[in-house]
């Protein structure tokens, strides 16, 4: 194949999805395994989103070893596995609204604001309508965000490759870490602590010397801490302990859950769409802008989207319409569009810079790392005239996102309305099962009991971090980026002839370092209001 252009790569990406290995044929039409996996992922995502106590992170953690066992380590495995994870990510944002609207229990943290208007609507006999509004707003926001991702990520990556050399890339990684440490969690100091611990943990048992550093000579530490054990331990097991403790404190608060019966017209009319669309569009812009910055998260987007919508609604609302917080459809629309539009934009820093901005992105990187053949980052978007297989995968990934959105538009709404029953599963029964499932999935992936012990140990660390008000996300991002930061810094140091000030010699690198210090300095001065 010669002289491949941008359009050729886009087309090859689409073909890689639709003409990949065939799962079965439907009416003579071959259905590729990737399309099937995106569908399964989306369904699983909606189910876990609709189940309080579960979420996309748990679903990804448990499914990853199964997916890798099923698909193996060939390049053919990349799109089905990544497509499945994308499906889970998108499904869970939609599903999180179900228990929020029906039972006043957000399925995911970012659906909390949805309870404020969704539950009053459900109590007023408008549950199905509230679910339809939530679904429409969520999928619209998500689709908008994906379009921004598809358009922006390649350009950003090309700019990075063109203008950033090794010192600048090192400085950019430092800036990303300090930004995440500063903006995520209760305070900049705690974010920095979380990030420092993540970096320290990843440097155990690694390095370039013959002796694996910081390993105390122990065989269990000499190969380093498995990334899955650290990430899943801190994020999933730590969260399970925290949730279990809350249940322990409010033991058996299991009064019967009342659900009002639907009354009157439940359909979503064109007039309804016109009424909520200004709120959706504002929130989609807010969510996309926030999502493009690593580490900020959908909870903040939902909060800002809701607050912005509330101000507009107070000015524009017709007398007699419910205000925000009293069952306003606009409140659901503003929240759901904002939190869903974060997901696509969150992948901009991953695909263009290789910097994960949220936990879902961390799992995409874990999957790509485990399978091999695709390293998210600026090098992916090299539009070379000889075939660049990573670029084909990137456009294949965009195609899976579009498929997931189409499925979300068509069947996602009906599915989410059927899943109200899931909220009745008692969390005190579900969470220990999920814990064992998580430990088993860790073992399956690493085939080593020490990985299970590490996962359990990091879960305890995650629990204590939560109790001290320290966000685990900077730890995870530090752990994921630590190796690359060290490698880039080593290369930059060597390339500049051992110049100790290599980070300050180029204006761009110096600017990044200055920004890294400034972002921590200003976040220390300004107390934060929102903890994602």
């Amino acid at each position: 194949m010669t002289d491949l252009g941008a359009l050729d790569y886009i087309w090859l990406g689409v073909l890689a999805v639709f003409q990949g290995p065939e799962a079965f044929s439907l009416l003579g039409l071959p259905i590729s395994i990737t399309v099937l996996m995106v569908t399964f992922g989306l369904i699983l995502g909606i189910v876990v989103g609709a189940t309080p106590g579960l979420g996309s992170v748990i679903a990804m953690a448990i499914s990853l070893p199964i997916l890798i066992s099923a698909f193996g380590f060939s390049s053919d495995a990349l799109l089905p596995v990544l497509g499945f994870l994308i499906g889970v990510m998108k499904g869970s944002t939609v599903g999180g609204a179900v228990p929020a609207i029906l039972f006043n229990t957000p399925g995911t943290p970012d659906a909390y604001m949805t309870t404020l208007d969704g539950y009053p609507m459900a109590r007023a006999g408008k549950a199905s309508k509230a679910l339809r509004i939530s679904h429409f707003s969520s999928v619209t926001g998500d689709t908008f965000s994906d379009i921004v991702l598809i358009v922006c990520a390649p350009f950003l990556a090309i700019l990075v490759e063109a203008f950033l050399d090794l010192p600048e890339k090192t400085a950019l990684l430092i800036l990303s870490l300090s930004f995440i440490a500063a903006v995520v969690g209760g305070s900049a100091a705690k974010g920095l602590l979380s990030c420092g611990l993540g970096l320290l943990a990843v440097y155990i048992g690694t390095g370039e010397d013959f002796y694996p550093r910081l390993s105390f000579g122990l065989p269990a530490l000499s190969d380093g801490i498995p990334i899955t054990a650290a990430v899943i331990g801190i994020l999933v097991i730590g969260a399970i302990f925290s949730e279990l403790e809350e249940l322990w404190h409010q033991t058996r608060r299991t009064g019967t859950i009342e659900v009002a019966k639907d009354q009157g017209d439940q359909r979503l009319h064109w007039a309804d769409i016109r009424r909520i669309f200004p709120y959706i569009s504002r929130s989609a812009l807010i969510g996309t802008a926030i999502g493009a910055l690593p580490g900020i998260g959908s909870t903040l987007a939902a909060t800002i989207g809701y607050a912005t919508g509330k101000r507009r609604h107070a000015r524009k609302k017709v007398p007699g319409d419910p205000a925000f917080g009293e069952g306003a459809p606009e409140g659901i629309a503003a929240t759901e569009a904002a939190n869903s539009s974060v997901s696509g934009a969150n992948l901009i820093p991953v695909l263009s810079l290789g910097i994960p901005g949220n936990t879902a992105a961390v799992f995409l990187i874990l999957a790509a790392d485990s399978i091999g053949g695709f390293n998210p980052g600026p090098a992916v978007f090299k539009f070379s005239t000889d075939l660049n297989p990573e670029l084909v995968i990137a456009f294949g990934l965009f195609t899976t996102m579009i498929i997931a959105n189409l499925l979300n538009w068509t069947v996602g709404g009906a599915l989410m309305r059927w899943l109200g029953v899931l909220v009745r599963i008692p969390k005190q029964h579900l969470l220990p099962v999920v814990l064992l499932l998580t430990l088993a999935s860790l073992y399956v992936e690493e085939t080593s009991m020490s990985a299970v012990w590490f996962g359990f140990g990091f879960g305890i660390l995650g629990y204590f971090m939560k109790r001290f008000g320290i966000s685990p996300l900077p730890f995870v991002i530090g752990f994921v980026l630590g190796g690359r930061l060290e490698m880039t810094a080593r290369q930059a140091f060597s390339a500049t002839g051992g110049d100790p000030f290599f980070l300050l010699k180029s204006p761009i690198a110096a600017l990044f370092i200055f920004a890294a210090v400034a972002v921590v300095y200003f976040s220390v001065r300004k107390p934060k209001a929102v903890t994602p």
Partner: protein
């Protein structure tokens, strides 16, 4: 100390930990220094990256010492009681998971070597069923503050479900602890 708030205590602990890492652990447990001469050029040694990580923790500790504000979150006595129980349940369950199979094989199987039986039913399930079942049953019982048949049934059903999920469909997957006994 009257003014030792939760944040200051955490800050002090961070500073002490960072200094210990930077001046004791790293120098004693790493082969090369921050920068090492190699073939006439300086290269980055294995100590540099962890030292910078320790510096992050040190700076965080200093910032926490001077932190002002209301977010004085810290674990309570109840929190410690809860997590100690969870640790106890987890450690006992994982030890059962690891050793139940070999112990039963030593007692009941011909030859007594579990490694030869670790891919043979029912031996390969013994550790996972006993350890996993203990984990789920004990956690449910602790959170509900009562022992119940329902918790036992859930534990057994969940363990069976996980075996069906991981072990039955895949020949190359081994349940814990069969991959590294």
């Amino acid at each position: 100390m009257r003014n030792l708030t939760a944040n200051r205590a955490l800050g002090l602990a961070c500073i002490a930990f960072a200094l210990l890492v930077a001046f004791v652990w790293i120098p004693l447990d790493t082969e090369t220094w921050l920068v090492e001469p190699k073939r006439g050029r300086n290269i980055v040694g294995d100590s540099l990256a962890p030292t910078l990580a320790a510096a992050f923790v040190l700076v965080a500790g200093i910032m926490l010492m001077f932190h002002r504000g209301g977010d004085e979150e810290k674990p309570s006595r109840d929190n410690l009681r809860f997590i100690c129980t969870m640790i106890g349940i987890g450690v006992v369950s994982l030890l059962i998971m690891r050793w139940a199979g070999p112990a039963l094989a030593a007692l009941l199987a011909e030859g007594g070597d579990y490694r030869l039986l670790r891919d043979t039913a029912p031996w390969k399930y013994t550790g996972f069923i006993l350890g996993g079942g203990t984990l789920i049953f004990s956690m449910i019982a602790f959170v509900e503050e009562r022992l119940s048949w329902r918790a036992l049934l859930i534990a057994l059903a969940a363990v069976a479900g996980i075996i069906l999920l991981y072990d039955v469909p895949f020949d190359d997957i081994l349940l814990p602890p069969n991959g590294d006994v």
